[in-house]
């Protein structure tokens, strides 16, 4: 009997944190974005002008605000849920697989929510007042074909990275995340040392899909890392 489905249900069991809290955060950032727009309005900016649109679309608040929560969600999905999953009778293998399935469900859910909100924003000509909440540069500048993979892969990346840090804590205690963080930092610096002479030419030929490939690689590495760390983890 596989407990993959049961483990996914275990993660979905916290319905508010899974489905509602991301919406609360999104709504809160939307309100703050509107308030900032009103501030610019009072300062003399003209809604609909090229300057207004450009500065509104540069607002990355939506990504920043959700990122912190999604990393936390990823960490706790392993750090505090793994011991309880073992108590319920999950295997480590099923837990890792079930957690990845839940990560994918969460990512798809947020991608759908953001896609619907973008469509609403475009259909209402930016909420009837020129407010740019979802039609922003980091989310694809109003292009659904970009927004959906950006939100899906970003969410999946943040959850899986949080998960591998949670797994390192389960496996090695407080030292785990520190060593993992330092290790990742060293790898990034070494990669930069090797690549920096070619960096200008690489940036010149940069394509957006490179980021997607990088995200997929990081997601796979994080998921594999989580499974590897949990394989030998014991609960005390």
């Amino acid at each position: 009997m596989s407990t993959v489905v049961s483990t996914t249900k275990l993660h979905l069991n916290k319905r508010e944190a899974t489905f509602a809290v991301p919406l609360y955060i999104t709504a809160m950032v939307a309100v703050i974005s509107v308030l900032i727009s009103l501030l610019f309005l009072r300062a003399g900016s003209v809604p609909g002008s090229a300057e207004w649109i450009e500065s509104s679309r540069m607002n990355p608040g939506m990504i920043y605000a959700l990122s912190g929560f999604l990393v936390y969600l990823g960490v706790q999905s392993v750090a505090t849920t793994f011991p309880f999953a073992l108590t319920l009778g999950s295997t480590r293998r099923s837990f890792a697989a079930g957690t990845l399935v839940w990560n994918v469900i969460m990512s798809a859910y947020l991608a759908v929510v953001f896609a619907v909100m973008l469509m609403l924003e475009l259909a209402t000509n930016h909420w009837f007042a020129g407010f740019y909440i979802f039609d922003i540069i980091v989310l694809g500048a109003g292009d659904l074909r970009l927004l959906i993979p950006i939100v899906f892969l970003s969410t999946l990346l943040l959850l899986t990275v949080g998960g591998v840090f949670g797994a390192s804590w389960v496996r090695y205690g407080a030292n785990g995340p520190v060593v993992l963080g330092v290790g990742i930092g060293i790898v990034i610096i070494l990669a930069l040392i090797v690549l920096i002479p070619q960096l200008p030419s690489m940036l010149a030929s940069f394509e957006l899909w490179w980021l997607a490939i990088a995200a997929v690689v990081a997601i796979l590495a994080s998921s594999l890392g989580t499974w590897t760390l949990l394989r030998s983890a014991t609960v005390r």
């Binding site: 505090t80 108590t87 319920l88 014991t234 609960v235």
Partner: protein, 300 residues
């Protein structure tokens, strides 16, 4: 006799400390076994390995005829809630009651409801904010309502009031009658649990020092009380487990059975003999080697 649990030559070390040291024992199917001993004796480590939450460095753990580590089928038949169980962030009682049936095929909602009512577990309190007794109550609900063929209870009484403990005993026995299962119970409230136990396994420093049916185990030790020198002479050929002295008087727990010859000698020497209680037995086996000086004093 079918054995539900079979542990053979199991050792588990953490650093240089052997938490479980070359342990072997078997537990008959559908019996209640007390896993007893001092803090740090190795009980929780052993239970963790029985539940597949840890694995031995050497030796084998077999549950219901199968290996347990990473075996989903075997694990679905085991219920083990740790005394310091961690729950996901912001969990409340309803989260536990909602998810348990997804993992436990024999989950009884009726039994869970009865226990939740009986223990008066608060519904709106986060589990991390619950008192020690309330945490134990949640663990008992999860353990008993799972009706798992193997139920491992690790210090289920911690912080429970007397009414809660009585409820636990009553429900455990009632449900055990109608849904027999193999239960391993670790506790320090030994006298309160003694009547439940078919067998006892007493551990000390990672090793098993007693593994027998409860009555036989109690027959394996006795307590002699009287003048220190008289007790010492009487027990000169016995293995002394624990000694308490007050002035010229001594109360000594010794290994061995009470036979007519010993009773006669005790009468002549003015020493009182009594069968050791389970608690005295566990206490005696947990005494540190440092008390051997006191033991020698009694012998002298």
């Amino acid at each position: 006799m079918t054995h539900a649990l079979d542990i053979q030559q199991v050792t588990r070390s953490f650093g240089r400390t052997a938490a479980v040291d070359n342990v072997s024992f078997q537990v008959p199917e559908n019996s209640i076994v007390g896993l007893l001993g001092r803090n740090g004796a190795g009980k929780t480590t052993l239970m963790s390995m029985l539940a597949g939450q840890d694995r031995p460095d050497t030796g084998t753990v077999t549950v219901l005829g199968d290996k347990v580590f990473e075996r989903a089928n075997t694990l679905s038949g085991i219920s083990y809630v740790r005394d310091n169980q961690r729950y996901p962030d912001n969990y409340m009682l309803h989260h536990v009651l909602r998810i348990a049936p997804a993992f436990k095929p024999n989950w009884s909602r009726e039994l869970a409801d009865e226990l939740v009512d009986g223990f008066r577990i608060p519904a709106k309190t986060k589990i991390t904010k619950m008192s020690r007794g309330q945490l134990s109550s949640v663990a008992i609900v999860l353990s008993l309502a799972s009706r798992a063929p193997i139920t491992l209870l690790d210090e289920p009484y911690l912080g429970l009031d007397v009414t809660g403990r009585a409820l636990f005993h009553r429900v455990l026995l009632d449900d055990y009658q109608t849904h027999p299962r193999t239960i391993v119970l670790s506790t320090h409230l030994i006298e309160e649990s003694a009547a439940l136990l078919d067998r006892v396994v007493i551990m000390d420093k990672g090793r098993i020092v007693v593994d027998d049916e409860t009555e036989n185990a109690r027959d394996g030790a006795f307590v002699a009380s009287g003048q220190t020198d008289a007790v010492g002479r009487l027990l000169v050929n016995h293995r002394i487990l624990e000694t308490h002295t007050v002035g010229a008087l001594a109360s000594v727990t010794a290994a061995g059975t009470l036979d007519d010859t010993l009773r006669q000698s005790a009468r002549v020497a003015g020493v009182q003999l009594a069968r050791a209680s389970l608690q005295e037995l566990v206490s005696a086996y947990g005494v540190n080697e440092s008390t051997s000086e006191t033991k020698e004093k009694v012998r002298a």
